[in-house]
């Protein structure tokens, strides 16, 4: 029984959920992650399922420490997500939620690249319903773009996997390393899902457009599968250090000026993924442990922040910083949970972000990456600024926008309480998490130097915010769209395609018209010569023939004499 792959119960439950309603459905939804987690607790390390398919050795179920940690994580995420969306009456999002988490579990326990590809694409297909469920024209477009980008990532993965198999003779998903075209394709495929710079826009487009409950699932799963894949396939790849450092820094500028608070969180997701990517690139045991631990914590605190914003948008129908403010009066509990999430993402000591992020920073310093360390430090101050202060401040405090509402439904509060508890628990007692990390770890998170340094950094960032806000320098929240890399495929690319299309159409029309003209000319000439009145269609009298023969003979006679 323990050999049952973890994705099976989730897919089975997704089918059951589609067929049931009411209390029974809620019971199935809640029981699935709980029973799945029990099943996983009994799982032994090793290969549990192997099969041959068209000469390929497939390993659909393999367990080791790394996949096990992500397996537990996704069960926790599924439980939180299910509780948060328990009030939904529709069926679609419940089915999508379980199938989505099932696909993520399939991906992290996949022992070969083809199985990984299958679940990689299923992740995309199951999750797009969270975006389409908004049923607006905006979300429809965002969903299509999301699907195209995600499927493209899968196609690159499959192409890379096939080439990798040709080159090495193996499909096994182990260390790949960046050294040829095959591995580059796989690297880019992972990079798209991990939100590499310029490939990141699906995150900032999809998260704000999905339903309040759907975003919670989205933000917890897809990017973490990518982090898992990078940690397995490309640990110690130098390029990842630079990519990660860039990812930590550029989104915070956008986060400061962005008005849609869920898009602020999307940018801050890229920033946090940057820390993980950087850790994977550094590749030491401490850095990899740090990256994986941060992925674990990020699921919880980013989930919590998205839940808080989801609750706000569920209750008020608004999500822009310019429309919100003063909600602490009517949603004090939600505000409290949001602050716990904000403290965790900002890496306040005793909150979860602190015990994992500092591992990556220490690893960067240990390896002499001073520039990278300074960028990470800048990003740490920045993340506190936009996620730690801006999100709770503009939603719950700031000027009173006059909104009077109530706390969200009980299930939403319970889900937030669960995530908040885990954030504080891991932050105060990180050793349980440390024990589950892939590499043995001797790291003391709470030494005086770290704690003091982090507190100074955070409090002086807060002082900077306060000073800028009081002096009126801080940019106001404005209704706006900020151009990012998606501009390329949303404006000039369609325009270019349209203009090329128009040109091809014009050329095509000209060629057709020209050909027709010429053809009718030919037909005209033929009918002139061969038609009923044509010169060649006339009957010639024999006399004229004899005359012409006489002329020819005469001419040849003359030539003969010459």
């Amino acid at each position: 029984m323990t050999e049952l792959p973890p994705f099976v119960p989730f897919y089975a439950a997704a089918l059951l959920v589609a067929a049931t309603r009411g209390r029974l459905r809620q019971a199935i939804l809640l029981a699935t992650p709980a029973l799945g987690a029990l099943l996983l607790l009994g799982a032994q390390e090793g290969v549990h399922w192997q099969l041959s398919f068209m000469d390929f050795e497939l390993v659909p179920y393999r367990v080791d420490r790394l996949s096990l940690l992500f397996g537990y994580l996704f069960h926790i995420a599924a439980f939180i997500g299910v509780v948060f969306s328990l009030h939904l009456r529709g069926t679609g999002q419940h089915v999508a939620g379980l199938a989505y988490v099932g696909s993520a579990l399939g991906a992290v326990f996949a022992g070969d690249l083809v199985t990984l590809f299958v679940f990689w694409e299923l992740l995309a297909i199951t999750s797009v319903f969270f975006i389409w469920a908004r049923r607006s024209s905006r979300s429809e477009g965002a969903g299509i773009r999301y699907l195209v980008i995600q499927v493209l990532s899968g196609v690159l993965l499959l192409a890379g996997a096939v080439m990798h198999q040709r080159a090495t003779g193996s499909l096994a998903f182990t260390y790949i390393g960046l050294d040829n075209l095959a591995s580059t394709l796989i690297f880019v495929a992972f990079g798209i899902k991990a939100g590499f710079p310029l490939l990141h826009n699906w995150i900032t487009e999809a998260y704000p457009e999905a339903t309040p409950t759907g975003t919670v699932f989205l933000c917890m799963i897809t990017t973490k599968v990518a982090i898992y894949a990078l940690a397995r396939g490309f640990p110690g790849t130098e390029l990842l250090v630079c990519i990660g450092a860039v990812m930590t820094c550029f989104p915070i500028f956008y986060a400061v000026i962005e008005n849609d608070l869920r898009r602020v969180l999307a940018y801050s997701t890229i920033n946090q993924l940057g820390f993980m990517v950087c850790g994977i690139g550094l590749g030491t045991a401490l850095a990899l442990d740090g990256a994986v631990a941060h992925a674990f914590n990020h699921v919880l605190f980013k989930g919590l922040l998205f839940m808080a914003m989801g609750a706000v948008s569920h209750m008020t129908g608004r999500i822009n910083g310019s429309d919100l403010g003063g909600l602490y009066k009517s949603m004090p509990i939600t505000a409290g949970f949001c602050i716990v999430g904000a403290a965790s993402i900002s890496a306040f000591p005793l909150f979860s972000g602190f015990v994992s992020k500092s591992m990556v920073m220490v690893a960067a310093l240990d390896q002499g990456h001073t520039g990278v360390w300074l960028m990470l430090l800048f990003a740490s101050a920045g993340v506190f600024h936009h996620a730690g202060i801006k999100i709770p401040f503009f939603a719950f405090f700031s000027h009173d926008a006059g909104i009077r509402t109530t706390e969200p439904p009980l299930n939403m509060l319970v889900a937030m309480a669960l995530a908040a508890f885990l954030c504080v628990f891991i932050g105060a007692y990180p050793w349980l998490l440390y024990e589950a990390l892939p590499f043995p770890l001797d790291y003391k998170p709470f030494d005086g130097t770290h704690v003091l340094a982090q507190l100074q950094l955070l409090f002086f960032s807060a002082a900077a915010f306060t000073w800028l806000k009081l002096s009126g320098v801080y940019p106001p929240e404005l209704r706006s769209t900020n151009l990012d890399a998606e501009w390329i495929y949303r404006k000039p690319a369609p325009r270019a395609i349209r203009s090329v299309g128009a040109r091809i159409q014009a050329f095509d029309a000209a060629v057709r018209a020209g050909t027709l003209r010429r053809w009718s000319g030919v037909v005209g000439a033929l009918s002139r010569h061969h038609g009923p009145q044509g010169i060649l269609a006339r009957t010639w009298p024999t006399g004229s023939m004899v005359l012409w023969v006489a002329v020819l003979l005469g001419a040849s006679l003359v030539l003969y004499y010459l």
Partner: protein, 85 residues
């Protein structure tokens, strides 16, 4: 909203109190650099007030640059919804 009870931050005094508490905490944390000997892995870390100054300057630079960035990247809210040309 006359019959509504006043909340914590409706009173300006309370807002001022928060700012004062923050200022005191900042001063205390900076002061701790005098007494606390840190074991550092990078020479800059040992500089007096390094993290404090870095945090403050980083945030101010971040916000000022982001403000400038608005001139470059900010468009109307319906920018992408509008049909082209």
């Amino acid at each position: 909203m006359k019959d509504e009870k006043t909340h914590v931050f409706d009173k300006q005094g309370n807002v001022r109190r928060v700012v004062h508490v923050l200022t005191v905490l900042c001063v205390l944390l900076l002061g701790a650099d005098f007494f606390f000997h840190r074991h550092v892995s990078h020479p800059w870390e040992g500089l007096w007030g390094f993290y404090a100054v870095f945090g403050f300057v980083a945030c101010v630079v971040l916000v000022l640059l982001a403000k400038e960035m608005r001139k470059l990247v900010m468009r109307d809210e319906d920018y992408y919804d509008r049909a082209d040309d």
